[in-house]
């Protein structure tokens, strides 16, 4: 496998990493938001 072919895979791996970072934070924020909303509704 040449250097440039290997780089293609490295770049795909980086893509996966950034998708993971984005999705994990997004999901975390949405879950916290949902819990807070439910708590607010219970208080009301």
């Amino acid at each position: 496998m040449s250097f440039w072919s290997m780089m293609n895979w490295v770049v795909w791996a980086l893509c996966a990493l950034f998708v993971f970072l984005l999705v994990s934070d997004f999901v975390k924020v949405e879950i916290i938001r949902k819990i807070r909303k439910e708590e607010e509704q219970k208080e009301q």
Binding site: W4, N8, V11, C15, F18, L21
Partner: protein, 480 residues
């Protein structure tokens, strides 16, 4: 369907009268707010960052359409459009310190339907430009070695920049400042590598390389749509209004210095490329500045311009993600589109849902691979926004005459700037019509259908008290 009556200026009048009624207190609801962290440097980075890529590619089709002389005339004519546009934008934008740029202006000056259309035009203009930038990054990298697949690089560019935008505007635009400055410096390196100041050794051969005005005035008209590449997107500076620490200062300073940078950069680009590359080759080149660097025969200049081209694309895509998400966020916050996108990140204070939502949209545009079609729709959207912005300046001066509200900047010689914007934008649309009439017609049909959807499905969700409440509370009753 009385769209004008329901969604146009009468809507603004109705709301103003409602606010003035003493018995009805308009409660301005708590808004999702963005962080106020940006200064003039960031505004400059946003405006110039989006645009600078146009000096590395695209502008040279002006030479194909209008010849060398037609290209520089189109460059300066379109420069006049943008000088006037920045005057108009900065005056209105410095008063409306709210995310959304021309969308927020339209909201207060033209009503919800026009605001919806302008917001949508801004989102598509920037989302498509972002896709085009990423496509070019992939193509340039592939030119290094045929084994390089452009697709992962395109996706990585968009993901990386989206992630940066997700984490905050300050870091995003500070990075944009650095990469835009480096890209601009590479143009200056190219200029000085030609020894242009010494006729004995200068590499610039304007007399031999240029071809004058082969198609006459009609060629200039046809060239204008590509002359826009030198400046397209600088008006996006107003989209950062809400995030500026001092909008009254940062917006005019950043935008005016940004435009001056672009005017200088555009003239240098034309001068260097026209003096180094024969007009016949330059008119069809994919990367004119890079070709000019190759013509110097100096390796360090070639490397500099290769890096400059990639950085310019990344800076442009970065600014586009910032602007498109702000426009989408602002529309959502006003309920013109589903409210879901109007939330901000609890830690980073960014419109994170809008940023993430627009990523697959841009990726989809990039996957089409139709660079010219994507860019044409982007330019059409921008030109329609310009025409409406010119009209908004008349509305603004009549609704809030000088002296009635505090302005961060007053555009001189009103109504001349607004007239210049409308005339040159319409002339450019005319020139574009000759070459891309099907695209233009499709674009107009798309916005018409979107308007029908908005009036029939979304208009009922607008909170009338909230929609204009903040502005009217700050500025008082306008003259209607």
């Amino acid at each position: 369907m009385k769209i004008e009556g329901a969604m146009g200026l009468s809507f603004v009048k109705e709301l103003v009268s409602k606010v003035e009624e003493p018995t009805k207190v308009v409660e301005v609801k708590e808004k999702s707010l963005l962080s106020k962290v940006l200064g003039p440097m960031h505004v400059w980075a946003l405006g110039v960052g989006i645009v600078l890529v146009g000096e590395f590619m695209g502008w040279n089709f002006t030479i194909l359409k209008g010849g060398s002389l037609g290209a520089i005339i189109a460059c300066w004519t379109i420069g006049m459009l943008y000088i006037a546009m920045i005057m108009v934008n900065t005056e209105i934008g410095s008063v409306i310190p709210e995310a959304g740029g021309q969308y927020a202006m339209a909201k207060y000056l033209l009503g919800p339907l026009a605001a919806f259309n302008i917001g949508l035009m801004l989102v598509l203009e920037y989302a498509m430009l972002e896709a085009a930038d990423a496509l070019v990054v992939g193509q340039i990298l592939q030119s290094l070695n045929p084994e390089i697949q452009p697709l992962p690089y395109i996706i990585l560019s968009l993901l990386l920049l989206t992630y940066l935008n997700y984490r905050g505007a300050y870091a995003t635009l500070t990075l944009n400042f650095i990469i835009t400055a480096i890209a601009f410096i590479t143009i200056i390196i190219l200029l000085f590598s030609t020894s242009f100041w010494n006729p004995q050794v200068s590499l610039i051969k304007l007399k031999e390389m240029t071809n004058g005005l082969p198609y006459g005035p009609l060629g200039i008209l046809a060239a204008m749509q590509f002359g826009i590449w030198f400046y397209l997107g600088i008006e996006g500076t107003t989209l950062a209004a809400e995030e500026c620490k001092s909008t009254h200062r940062a917006l005019p300073v950043g935008a005016i210095i940004g435009l001056a940078t672009l005017l200088i950069g555009a003239t240098i680009t034309w001068f260097v490329c026209s003096g180094l590359v024969p007009a016949g080759e330059l008119g069809v080149s994919a990367y004119p500045l890079y070709d000019a660097a190759l013509a110097t025969g100096k390796l360090f200049v070639v490397i500099a311009l290769f890096v400059g081209t990639i950085l310019a694309c990344l800076a442009s895509a970065n600014g586009c993600i910032n602007d498109a998400s702000r426009a989408w966020f602002a529309m959502s916050r006003d309920k013109l589109i589903p409210e879901f996108f109007g939330a901000t990140h609890p830690k980073y204070n960014t419109p994170y849902r809008a940023i993430v939502f627009l990523l697959p949209i841009s990726l989809a545009f990039a996957f089409t691979g139709m660079l010219d079609q994507v860019i044409t729709f982007s330019i059409l959207s921008a030109l329609l926004v310009y025409v409406l912005t010119g009209y908004m300046m008349f509305r603004f001066r009549s609704m809030y005459p000088l002296g009635t509200i505090k302005r961060g900047y007053i555009a001189p010689m009103h109504p001349l700037p607004a007239i210049v914007v409308i005339i040159i934008a319409c002339a450019t649309l005319l020139g574009m019509y000759f070459g891309y009439w099907i695209n233009m017609l499709s674009g107009v049909v798309f916005y018409f259908l979107a308007s029908v959807w908005f009036v029939s499905r979304r208009a009922k969700y607008i909170d009338k008290d909230h929609f204009l409440g903040a502005g009217i509370k700050d500025w008082g009753k306008p003259n209607l």
